[in-house]
Symmetry: C2
Subunit: 182 residues, 2 copies
């Protein structure tokens, strides 16, 4: 995962990864069968880590706006933590496969769709509870949050801008009608 977050899933090389793991190429690939299966396993592992870091703690908050706020906080904190030295894994994979059909693209799309669904459900609950404007489309809210996190973290990384994630956080809170943090 570390290697792929920097070089991309497509940038993983059996030879290099094997030497990084102090294994032989054949010993490594024997675990998965072929490279694509290994890439899918890496992606699945990274998604699990995201869920554990963001969804799991946030799911303890009350449904609706409180949970949405908890998600946003955990999300930004996850991006800030630097668990992946190369930035958000799914964003990297999205860019890599958005124009390249195949199982990996399907896996990435499924993961993004699932996450957007989670966000949309909470946005709808928030709207039904009166915590979001009645004319606000929950799917719009979900898509906007995802776009900000994805695009913002990439821009911050390439610029080397430490304040970027603060801006992302502020924009996400603004998107769901929460007041600035301070």
């Amino acid at each position: 995962m570390d290697l792929a977050s920097v070089e991309g899933l497509e940038g993983i090389t059996i030879g290099r990864l094997a030497s990084e793991l102090a294994m032989s190429k054949s010993g490594l690939i024997g675990r998965f069968g072929d490279k694509e299966t290994m890439q899918r396993a890496v992606l699945a592992a990274a998604i699990d880590r995201f869920i554990a870091a963001v969804w799991q703690p946030a799911s303890r908050a009350a449904p609706g706006l409180p949970r949405l706020e908890a998600i946003v906080d955990a999300w930004v904190e996850h991006l800030r933590s630097g668990v992946f030295p190369g930035g958000c894994f799914v964003t990297t994979a999205s860019v890599e496969y958005d124009a390249r059909p195949g199982p990996l693209r399907d896996d990435v799309a499924a993961a993004v769709k699932r996450w957007l669904g989670v966000l949309e459900v909470q946005a709808r609950r928030a709207r039904d509870a009166g915590d979001l404007p009645a004319d606000r489309d929950p799917a719009d809210v979900a898509f906007e949050l995802h776009s900000l996190a994805s695009g913002g973290s990439v821009a911050g990384r390439v610029l080397g801008d430490d304040e970027a994630l603060d801006r992302v956080h502020a924009a996400m809170r603004r998107a769901i009608g929460l007041p600035p943090l301070n």
Copy 2:
């Protein structure tokens, strides 16, 4: 540019590009010297195309909010046009090099910084004219617009969602306080 927008700048291969251009490998690389110089030339050409498609028409609008609106409209239209079969070039390059130092990373960072500067200037003008709230940070506005365009277009591509750019457009207009389009 077509090839790189799909496979990424790092995914360009001298052999493949040469055969796509019906040239020999040596004939192609002879033009640039080495691969990295060629990649930088491709990136520069893509940036020129972006400027021509987005900034040039928008620069005819009055400074401040009108110009910001023109930029947003042209920007979304540029993303919609599909000039690059693999999506926004600078976003792809940002993800590829955000964790990989070198001249290409520097080029990408410089381009993003320059564009954010353009957006920030117009946001400040809009704020000074009273078209944006006085407590709204122009740099925040610039960063938010960039994040939405970048992250939103990628998400839309990987999901195969045709409405995605409409959502991006709406979110960008919302970010600068403009009313929904209809």
